[in-house]
């Protein structure tokens, strides 16, 4: 029970050992941004290769590797961690909690994600990255030469374990740690979508774990799961992958829905229209997310009845999604709309995402899908929903929560340049790809012939990609040049939810006194009907805090070393890694660590300074 906060630690050691959800959120943000940049560069390489017919900028094998790593990195290591960044930072604040339920596990989850991602990208330097697409279908993946696919399997296994832990952590945090008065139906929409997203993670990731495990058994231990000559069946892998994979794309879009709900209602200065319908629609989307996976497999040959069932189930998703679209529009209706950058992204999201949704329904028609399958039409579709939905959501959230996370506001004028360039570049890149697909350009192919009518549209597409890349550079510049905007950061948008009731930067314990929640949009309610400050639900008292720990990194290092051993089938390295891993877990298990208390006197002093 020592008070370890008094001893000053070095900054680096502090970040390596932190279990504070806000710091972990910030680390997720920069980790995700790092991989976002890498995957973006990979996309640029592909667009350069496809700028003109029969280019030899990239070798075919390299193209396959770049293509695989672009998809894998964007989904697992960029989009998800960036959402996790906001979930980690914002959700405990929104529900009035002092931390997440499992601070240690939270930190472990982050390091697993980071080390898994680094392990996967290490493959570039050890003889070639994975080259079987982000789906790694067997037998392409089981027969791929070299160790690239082994890195894919182990890298995703390590980072996937971290994701699962984070999912459970968010679920328990939201169920157990809400402030008094914060009933489930008073939770902000972002917290709700985090909750449903975490449920999807909990039930989808184990299927990926098994899919990757079976691939590993086949590739490394000579198993026969996907070896047809030994009685194996490759369709099993496709099912396992998509039972994970379809919920995964909803894991990527639901948090964005939550972000837009917050942003739109804040900048329209109106309560979210149809709050309970929004919550209900989120749950329905989550449920349907598990019922439609086989629409990725229409051309596999499951049979007409199976295809028809999955086609109808898929089209049904348009209903709850439509409910959400109309609720956002009706929230804007009659509101006093402010066109901040965060809101611009939210407003641009609505038509962009609808376009992706419409092509989604087209693709859901299984008979028509035989024509669309594996063409650029599909590429256009999923980039419309993932960029037009998830990435716009991430950028919106970046501008919206930046003052809370980093204590300064990003420049709005530079931000508007960034927004318009990115929006135009995005549509330029992907709109023409619909038509490229319809006239027959197959996806995942490194080049195309001259004189097929593909030249102009591919050139336009590549130009759009350059615009997006340039826009992204403006965002990075914005982060650096805006650092002086430190005024008006506590509640710059006239916010509605609890995170804006804290100080900026947020104190280690979030709330000196746990707030009492009296209404949906708790902070807004106090602004309108109270004195503009949250009522306290408890007297000022010592605050219990968890101790930091270096063990998450050691556990993760052990697991990464063991994975490395598996990749090269070297038992000594596997055993060494597992010894480190279980040794650190053992130490964690037997060491009683009850954290420390921040005394009232210190809190009072900090509260005084905060004013």
């Amino acid at each position: 029970m020592s008070n370890s906060s008094t001893s000053k630690k070095s900054v680096l050691w502090d970040w390596l050992t932190t279990v504070d959800h806000k710091k972990i959120g910030i680390m997720y943000f920069f980790g995700g941004l790092f991989f976002f940049t890498i995957a973006g560069l990979e996309a640029m390489l592909m667009r350069i290769q496809l700028m003109f017919p029969e280019m030899s900028f990239l070798h075919e094998q390299t193209y396959n590797e770049v293509l695989t790593m672009h998809g894998t990195t964007m989904l697992f290591l960029a989009a998800m961690p960036l959402f996790f960044a906001f979930m980690n930072f914002v959700v405990p604040l929104q529900i009035g909690a002092r931390d997440v339920a499992f601070p240690f596990i939270n930190s472990l989850g982050f390091w697993l994600f980071l080390f898994g991602g680094l392990l996967l990208n290490l493959s570039w330097f050890t003889g070639g990255a994975p080259d079987a697409g982000w789906t790694a279908y067997a037998p392409l993946s089981t027969t791929s030469a070299g160790h690239g696919l082994d890195y894919y399997i182990m890298g995703l296994q390590v980072s996937g374990a971290g994701t699962l832990m984070s999912g459970i952590n968010f679920l328990v945090t939201i169920v157990n740690m809400r402030a008094p008065g914060m009933s489930m139906m008073r939770m902000p929409l972002f917290t709700w979508t985090t909750f449903v997203t975490s449920m999807l993670i909990l039930f989808a990731f184990p299927a990926l774990t098994v899919g990757l495990l079976l691939l590993m058994m086949d590739r490394i231990f000579g198993g026969a799961f996907f070896d047809v000559a030994m009685g194996g069946n490759v369709v099993i892998y496709q099912h396992l992958f998509w039972i994970f994979g379809h919920p995964e794309v909803y894991i990527l879009i639901l948090p964005a829905f939550g972000i837009f709900s917050e942003v739109i209602s804040t900048f329209a200065k109106k309560r979210l229209f149809g709050y309970s319908a929004m919550v209900f629609a989120t749950m329905i989307i989550g449920f349907l997310g598990f019922m439609v996976w086989a629409h990725h497999m229409f051309t596999v040959g499951m049979g007409p009845i199976a295809n028809a069932i999955f086609a109808v189930a898929t089209m049904a998703i348009a209903v709850p999604t439509g409910i959400k679209i109309f609720n956002w529009l009706l929230t804007l209706w009659g509101g006093r709309i402010r066109f901040t950058v965060a809101n611009l992204f939210a407003l641009a999201f609505i038509p962009s995402f609808v376009m992706g949704g419409v092509t989604g329904v087209q693709l859901a028609m299984s008979a028509a899908d035989y024509q669309f399958h594996d063409t650029y039409f599909v590429v256009a579709h999923f980039h419309y929903v993932i960029i037009g939905g998830s990435v716009f959501g991430i950028f919106s959230a970046t501008f919206y929560w930046w003052p809370k996370m980093f204590g300064y506001r990003l420049s709005e004028s530079l931000g508007r340049w960034f927004f318009w360039l990115f929006l135009i570049g995005f549509h330029l890149t992907f709109f023409v790809q619909h038509f490229l697909g319809l006239i027959g350009m197959p996806r995942r192919v490194a080049s195309y012939l001259d004189g097929q009518g593909l030249n102009e549209m591919n050139f336009i597409s590549s130009m759009g990609a350059f615009m997006m890349a340039f826009a992204f550079i403006l965002l990075v510049i914005n982060v650096f040049v805006s650092r002086k905007n430190t005024d008006d950061v506590q509640d710059p948008w006239d916010g509605r939810t609890l995170e804006w009731a804290t100080t900026s930067p947020v104190q280690e314990y979030n709330f000196a006194q746990t707030p009492l929640v009296r209404e949906l949009d708790a902070f807004w309610h106090e602004k309108q009907f109270g004195d503009g400050r949250m009522k306290a639900a408890e007297p000022l008292d010592d605050i219990h805090m968890p101790n930091g720990s270096i063990l998450p990194i050691i556990i993760t290092t052990g697991l990464t070393v063991a994975s490395f051993g598996v990749i090269y089938s070297t038992w000594s390295i596997i055993i060494l890694g597992l010894l480190i891993n279980f040794g650190a877990m053992f130490v964690r298990s037997i060491k009683e660590d009850h954290g420390y208390h921040i005394p009232v006197s210190e809190i009072k002093r900090e509260q005084g300074e905060g004013k």
Binding site: M1, L171, V175, M199, L202, F203, A204, A207, N233, V235, I236, H239, L240, I243, F290, M291, A294, V300, G301, M302, G303, P304, I305, A306, D541, D542, H544, E592, H594, H597, P599, V600
Partner: protein, 114 residues
């Protein structure tokens, strides 16, 4: 201000009511255990004896397994205790997804077309 030390051993005895409740619980659990032994043996006997036709035996032993799992979950793991609503939601959702997976991997893996 003094804080409770979570590592200090807990003192004293449970209340009379708790004692009684625990005694009843122990009795229920022994009865459940005996019943589980019984249905497990029934399942093994169903298969081991050659008299019972397969088309009856398969659904029958699957049903026995279902009963035993529910007993484990509710009598041994106390899933029916108060305040376990979310636990029920998560476990049964997991069961649902697992059942979907099993159904997909046994039915639509391309060996027969539907």
């Amino acid at each position: 201000m003094s804080h409770v030390d979570p590592s200090a051993p807990l003192e004293g005895k449970p209340s009379k009511a708790t004692e009684r409740k625990l005694k009843n619980e122990a009795r229920t659990q022994i009865v459940s255990f005996v019943f589980m032994i019984f249905i497990t043996s029934t399942a093994f006997l169903t298969v081991a004896s050659d008299v019972i036709p397969t088309h009856f035996a398969i659904p029958f032993i699957l049903m026995l397994a279902g009963v035993q799992v529910v007993m484990q979950l509710y009598y041994f793991m106390h899933m029916n205790a108060k305040g376990n609503g979310w636990i029920n939601v998560m476990l049964w959702s997991g069961m649902f997804v697992a059942a979907l997976t099993v159904a997909a991997l046994t039915v639509i893996i391309g060996e027969t077309k539907f």
